[in-house]
Amino acid sequence: MERNLHRQLANMKKSLFDQGYLDEQFIQLEELQDAANPNFVEEVVTMYYRDSARLIQNIDHALEKNPLDFAKLDNYMHQFKGSSCSIGAKKLKNECTQFKEYCETGNGEGCKRTFQQVKKEYAALKKKLEHYFQFARQVGPVEKACRPK
């Protein structure tokens, strides 16, 4: 029964990877978990969402200015992209790169359009990861599954 849950969890993760939401960095983070720190990845991701909310707001406000300050926008996005990279958020990272490219070419419309995408991805990933971690908590540490009934 527990093995089934584990398989479900593994499938969930595989799907996140197949759909391009996550990359290798997420696996790297999972490998840092152990019995003493079983929820490290969830903690990092939670911290990420809390911390980056501020950056999202800053970018939103900066995009309302006229004229746009592309250097500032690029700076905010650089920070946001960095954190996104650190949690293995692949799609998000790519959107951030796109945004930065528009900053470099001074394409305001491109920036605004891309940022809508960024926010969508950001929200979608949050839901998926919340679901994943919730499930992971239910499944429990790997050792449990190995214990014979």
């Binding site: 790297q28 490290f40 990092v44 650089h78 954190s83 650190s86």
Partner: protein, 192 residues
């Protein structure tokens, strides 16, 4: 003889991690702890210099009395960049011996060159992973061992001879360059 190694205070490397990103600090802290290093994580170059006591020209002993054996700093930080922090450390007679590693999400060759020229031990591309950290740890530990073998009481300020394993590691990209011997030697427990 070599008993007064003022660098010898603990069995674990003490690493000072500098990064303005909360998430990155949490990750690097975990990476270092897993690699059996003591970690002090600060959010800016200025805080790092304060911790190192640079303003008072004291020795590189932080508030908790532990000498810093390695500094890992992000490159792009508001206020003082990692590069500027590197320069300040290398121009301090007390601190310049401490290896400084620069971390950056951007692999800009000119940036890498500049950092290495200024004396950075290595330039790591983010996200930094466990094998990066372990490899670094081994290199630093090997450096201490070499010092002991050669009977140095304390690493000399001007000891930048190419034979020293603390000589600049001129492989800025992520390819693993650490020798196998460095990995084996970490099984010993040098006094730090």
């Amino acid at each position: 003889m070599g008993s007064d190694c003022s660098s010898v205070v603990a069995e674990e490397l003490h690493v000072l991690a500098v990064d303005d990103s909360l998430v990155d600090r949490k990750v690097i802290e975990r990476l270092l702890k897993i690699s059996s290093c003591k970690v002090t994580a600060v959010e800016s170059g200025r805080r790092a210099l304060q911790y190192l006591g640079l303003d008072g020209e004291k020795s590189s002993v932080g508030f908790d009395g532990l000498k810093v054996n390695l500094i890992m700093t992000d490159y792009s930080m508001p206020g003082m960049t990692g590069y500027e922090l590197l320069k300040k450390i290398k121009s301090s007679s007390n601190l310049r011996e401490i290896p400084v590693v620069i971390m950056s999400s951007e692999k800009v060759l000119a940036r890498i060159d500049r950092c290495l020229e200024e004396g950075a031990q290595e330039f790591l591309v983010k996200p930094v992973n466990l094998s990066d950290v372990k490899r670094l740890r081994d290199i630093i530990l090997q450096g201490y061992e070499n010092d002991e073998d050669k009977g140095y009481q304390k690493r000399k300020l001007q000891d930048l001879s190419p034979t020293s394993s603390l000589a600049r590691d001129l492989t800025p990209l992520k390819s693993a360059s650490a020798s196998a011997s460095a990995q084996q030697s970490c099984l010993k427990r040098p006094r730090l």
